[in-house]
């Protein structure tokens, strides 16, 4: 469809972007455009100003930083997917980036854009919640860091003020830990009907995609695992505390049953 009319500014730096965002009440950040532009074309989003941060060169990187791996917000899904550093130090992130959309989407869409959009059907937010990743946010009064689990506040609702920009995602080094991301969808380019991120280790982590209004931890499953349960018995608790949507791809009831199957499979794979 045809979007409503809007102004467009290209930011030269993060500071410039923050200034531009502060100039209007309803400005929106444009990165890869793969979440925002479809909404604008449906006229579901009608920002009067787009602040294009896509040309800010120094926000696209993956680098080791102590016991973390730092990922610039403008790093494309494809760059995340093919990053040697991530494949070695945090393979669940590299792998899951390769499950997003299709090759065209992965070459344009960015990790920061996907995270800031806070779509509960997106894959990467779930993985970041399972990883307990840190998100670095820049605003007029400087920088702050938020845990992924606190960042997603609801449907399309990130912990992000209108004049703030997500600049970096910091994920832990998980080398040596078992992991799996189960994405269940009908078509290769679709969002997950249900997704499950699992990380093995002393305190196993399980998080769910599209099982509520935000990516959520399967705390019942985690609790069962902490108590020594095997994957089959832990997975029975996968639907606890979830409130999945009903849509043409699946009813809430089906999603809850699916979550149990997928959690078991993810646990088996992450432990195998």
């Amino acid at each position: 469809m045809i979007p409503a009319s809007f102004d467009y500014e290209r930011a030269d730096s993060v500071e410039h972007a923050i200034r531009l965002l502060g100039s209007r009440d309803d400005a929106k950040v444009l990165a890869g455009g793969h979440s925002l532009l479809p909404l604008m074309r449906f006229r579901l989003a009608r920002p009067s100003l787009l602040v294009d941060i896509g040309r800010i060169g120094d926000l696209s990187y993956v680098r080791e930083d102590g016991d973390k791996v730092a990922i610039g917000a403008l790093t494309t899904h494809d760059a995340v997917n093919t990053s040697e550093a991530l494949r070695e130090l945090c393979p669940i992130v590299a792998h899951t980036a390769g499950e997003i959309g299709d090759p065209q989407v992965r070459h344009m869409g960015t990790i920061g854009g996907s995270v800031a959009h806070a779509d509960p059907a997106s894959d990467m937010p779930t993985v970041l919640v399972a990883l307990e990743a840190d998100l670095v946010i820049e605003g007029p009064s400087g920088s702050r860091t938020v845990m992924a689990g606190d960042f997603f506040k609801g449907l399309f609702t990130p912990d992000l003020a209108p004049n703030e920009v997500l600049t970096e995602i910091r994920v832990p080094n998980t080398a040596g830990r078992g992991w799996d991301y189960q994405k269940f969808h009908r078509r290769a380019q679709d969002w997950a009907i249900v997704g499950v991120a699992a990380l093995d280790g002393e305190s196993a982590r399980v998080a769910l995609t599209n099982m509520g209004d935000r990516p959520i931890r399967a705390s019942g499953v985690e609790e069962a695992l902490a108590g020594g349960a095997d994957p089959t018995s832990a997975a029975v608790r996968a639907a606890e505390g979830t409130s999945p949507p009903s849509d043409p791809f699946g009813s809430a009831e089906y999603r809850q049953e699916l979550a149990k199957v997928l959690v078991r499979r993810a646990l088996e794979r992450s432990m195998g």
């Binding site: 078509r187 089906y254 049953e257 699916l258």
Partner: protein, 787 residues
């Protein structure tokens, strides 16, 4: 230069591909004319609502806006063409381009805006204020027929559009006596056709002459010209319709659309070119949908599974208005509820139903995929009932092989067929025994992923169509012949003009192959022109698998007329009688004197200069022909599908697909394979993925490509094809149609495979499409859980 190579039967590369695959094809939306205005349609957001008032004043005040009109501002010469009133007592509501007092589906146009740019038109359309009084909507057919249902067209007092029946044999007796009765209920879900090119229209008025040229992404420029004349009162003689490159139709562009009439009328009112291009979301609402039937299918059989009778009761959703052939679409399948099988009695009752949904009309296969679903799934149910293998039950019920036209119990006179032959070949290609072994192994081990094998040994009728039959018993208002003209230019180059309107099928190549063979010229010397009513004034266009089956014989007839005239000239020039000439590969040779010869291109030059023609022969070498077939054509075949079903998640993966089809004489094997593979993919999508869903208020829930699941390349298996040829007796080229076979055959093959995979769990039925959730539900139902 004559050639001895024959093109028919070989995989000549598509003539149209150089243009199309390099992105240089010119489509309607590629065109712009100076002074052109853009049109935008204001559509009802309600499934059913009274339109109390329409206020366009705000829109008129916006920058760039030239005009805005409500439905009541038009006084049409006639409604949009509805060409197939299947019964004399049909409830046939006139359908005008814009609704006046009531919107009957979400997407129904109520006003129109014209502006200097597309963006301005869309913005202005958004600002048109329509005062709606929402009314209760009805979307479900059974609810629509129930007492007290909201009525879509008040004047009828009912949502029943028509009831069409056909009976052969003593059905009641057969069903009373047969020891086995299988009764199944199927819902053939609604689909959105989704041609890759959205609809687009451009109208240019000639204000000096009163002539209009309309470019439209249509399958039917010829029919559209007549329909536009009827709707607007502009004489056909002043209308030129051009279908330039068209990016697919699948029946969705076999239509006369409100936007076409609106653009034409607005260009007349405003004296300026008018352009409109559908957005994809608009296409979901305003381009017609396909399928949508509820079927009750009964088979009467002996204890051993020999079928004695077929009885079907079908509800067919018409949507909110009757589009061009909507009532007839189910009738196209109404003779096929017996498939390729024999029996003593046959009965069908079709009921057309109005609902507050987008109008439904032809979609690739049109009526025949629905019929094939009913019989091919019911025969599997019968096989389960009598404990027979699906192969065995089909074999024992097939019509025996025949090469002369033979009557079916469904009421068709079928051209030719050898049904067991395609099944044998398909079984061999699929390695059926190995598949069954693998299935047994998985069943024995309790594998999470179970294997299923499904069959569809379909029969269809296409090649629309013999004018006397379709206009007679079938009550269709149009004709079914096809026209061709062959013009030999003085240099020997050839132009073929066809009344068919190819839009992706490869017919240009097929027609060129036929003309090149008949005239003995290289195929590169043949150009095929079509899709412009000023270039090709006569024709019935492309749909219903008629391009090859009806268009090709017309080309061959015109070519043979050319050869007949050329023979007269050759005989005159060579100073022999016509009988003393032999003709082969474009060359007339004097019998017994092989060095005395004339080629068709040489004679074309003589005919052009006309220096030395026989007295009775006119100058020029150009001939036209009209081919009106005496019957339909009847492709058939055997499709075998193997699926893996994840019994925990319900996910289905097609792991093997074999299609063996008899489409009669094959003009170009590669074109046939392309049609079969494309059709099968579309049918797999129907079986597993696609469904247009409305909520109870008449809102289309699956309203765009993100939530209406069209599979893409990663979801599609490789498809093995094979063929068996029994030439059609309907045309002397022996051609049957191939455009729809894949879509007709494949859905029940896939669905039967899913049921087969799950039969050890007790599953006997699966909702279409077999989405993971629907499969999961079927498993749960079989296990005795809630559903």
């Amino acid at each position: 230069m004559a050639t001895t190579e024959r093109y028919v039967g070989s995989s000549v590369p598509r003539k149209e591909d150089a243009e199309l695959v390099t992105g240089r094809g010119r489509y309607t939306d590629d065109m712009a004319i100076p002074g052109m205005l853009w049109m935008a349609v204001v559509r009802s957001p309600f499934g059913h609502a009274r339109v109390k008032s329409v206020d366009v004043s705000k829109a008129l005040g916006m920058d760039g806006v030239v005009a805005a009109f409500a439905g009541g501002d038009f006084d049409w010469a006639g409604p949009l063409l509805m060409a197939w009133p299947v019964t004399s007592d049909i409830n046939n509501p006139p359908h005008f381009p814009l609704a006046k007092d009531k919107a009957r589906y979400a997407g129904d146009g109520v006003a129109v805006v014209v502006a200097e740019s597309r963006a301005a038109a869309v913005d202005a359309a958004e600002s048109v204020h329509v005062d709606y009084e929402p009314l209760p909507a009805v979307v479900d057919m059974e609810a629509a027929l129930a007492e007290g249902a909201p009525i879509v067209h008040d004047e009828f007092g009912t949502n029943r559009c028509y009831v069409w029946t056909n009976t052969n044999g003593d059905v009641d007796k057969v069903f009373a006596e047969a020891p086995v009765i299988v009764k199944e209920r199927y819902r053939v879900q609604r689909q959105v056709p989704n041609a890759i090119e959205p609809r687009a229209i451009l109208v240019e008025p000639n204000n000096a002459t009163g002539q209009f040229t309309m470019w439209s992404s249509t399958q039917i420029p010829h029919v559209l010209r007549t329909a536009m004349a009827l709707a607007t009162g502009i004489p056909e003689s002043k209308l030129r319709i051009v279908a330039p490159r068209v990016g697919g139709g699948f029946g969705s562009k076999l239509q006369v659309y409100p936007e076409e009439a609106l653009a034409l009328e607005l260009s007349r009112r405003l004296g300026r070119p008018i352009k409109w291009t559908e957005t994809r979301s608009e296409g979901y609402l305003a381009t017609h949908h396909g399928r949508d039937q509820i079927q009750e299918m009964e088979l009467a059989a002996d204890e051993d599974g020999r079928i004695r009778g077929f009885r079907a009761k079908v509800l067919a959703n018409m949507g909110a208005y009757l589009r061009i052939i909507a009532p007839g679409t189910p009738v196209l399948g109404a003779f096929l509820y017996c498939g390729a099988y024999t029996g003593e009695a046959y009965q069908i009752e079709l009921t057309g139903v109005f609902t507050n949904t987008t109008p439904v009309d032809a979609y690739r296969g049109a009526g025949r995929p629905e019929a094939t679903n009913a019989i091919e799934r019911a025969i599997d149910a019968l096989a389960r009932r009598v404990g027979k293998d699906p192969v065995e039950i089909r074999r024992m019920n097939f019509m025996p092989p025949f090469t002369e036209a033979t009557q079916s119990i469904g009421g068709l006179m079928i051209d030719s067929g050898n049904y067991p032959a395609t099944l044998d070949k398909a079984l061999e290609l699929a390695d059926y025994e190995q598949l069954r072994k693998e299935q047994q192994a998985r069943r024995a081990s309790g594998d999470v992923k179970q294997l299923g094998i499904g069959f569809s040994t379909y029969l269809e009728n296409c090649g629309w169509g013999p004018s006397r039959i379709i206009g007679g018993v079938l009550q269709y208002a149009g004709g079914g012949w096809e026209a061709a003209t062959i013009r030999c230019h003085p240099t020997g180059k050839v132009v073929v003009i066809t009344g068919a309107t190819p839009h992706g099928q490869g017919s240009e190549t097929a027609f060129a192959q036929i003309a090149a063979d008949e005239l003995g010229v290289p195929i590169d010397d043949v150009e095929v022109l079509f899709g412009d009513t000023d270039v090709s004034p006569n024709g019935w266009d492309t749909y219903g698998s008629r391009g090859a089956a009806v268009g090709s014989p017309a080309v061959a007839m015109a070519a043979r007329k050319v050869v007949a005239k050329a023979r007269k000239i050759a005989a005159h020039e060579l100073e022999v009688s016509e009988e003393d000439l032999t003709y082969e590969s474009g060359r007339f040779t004097v019998k017994g004197a092989p060095d005395r010869a004339k080629t068709v291109p040489e004679i074309a030059f003589s005919a052009w200069t006309a220096h030395n023609l026989p007295d009775e022969v006119e100058p020029g070498l150009e001939e036209s022909a009209f081919f009106d077939p005496g019957n339909l054509v009847f492709p058939y075949g055997a499709h075998i599908c193997a699926v893996e079903v994840d019994t925990e998640t319900g996910e289905v993966e097609v792991v093997k697909y074999v299609a063996v089809d008899d489409v009669g004489t094959i003009i170009n094997p590669q074109l046939v394979e392309g049609q079969v593979v494309g059709g099968v993919v579309q049918g797999i999508a129907e079986a597993l993925y696609e469904e247009a869903v409305y909520d109870e208020n008449g809102q289309l829930v699956t309203s765009n490509m993100s939530n209406y699941a069209i599979p893409a390349a990663p979801e599609v298996p490789s498809i093995a094809t094979g063929s068996h040829v029994t030439p059609s007796t309907t045309n002397d080229l022996g051609i049957k149609g191939v455009g729809e076979t894949g879509t007709i055959a494949s859905p029940p093959a896939v669905l039967n495979a899913v049921v087969d995979a799950l039969s050890p769990l007790g599953v006997t039925e699966i909702e279409r499409p077999a989405t993971p959730e629907n499969v999961w539900k079927a498993i749960r139902r079989a296990k005795g859980g809630a559903a």
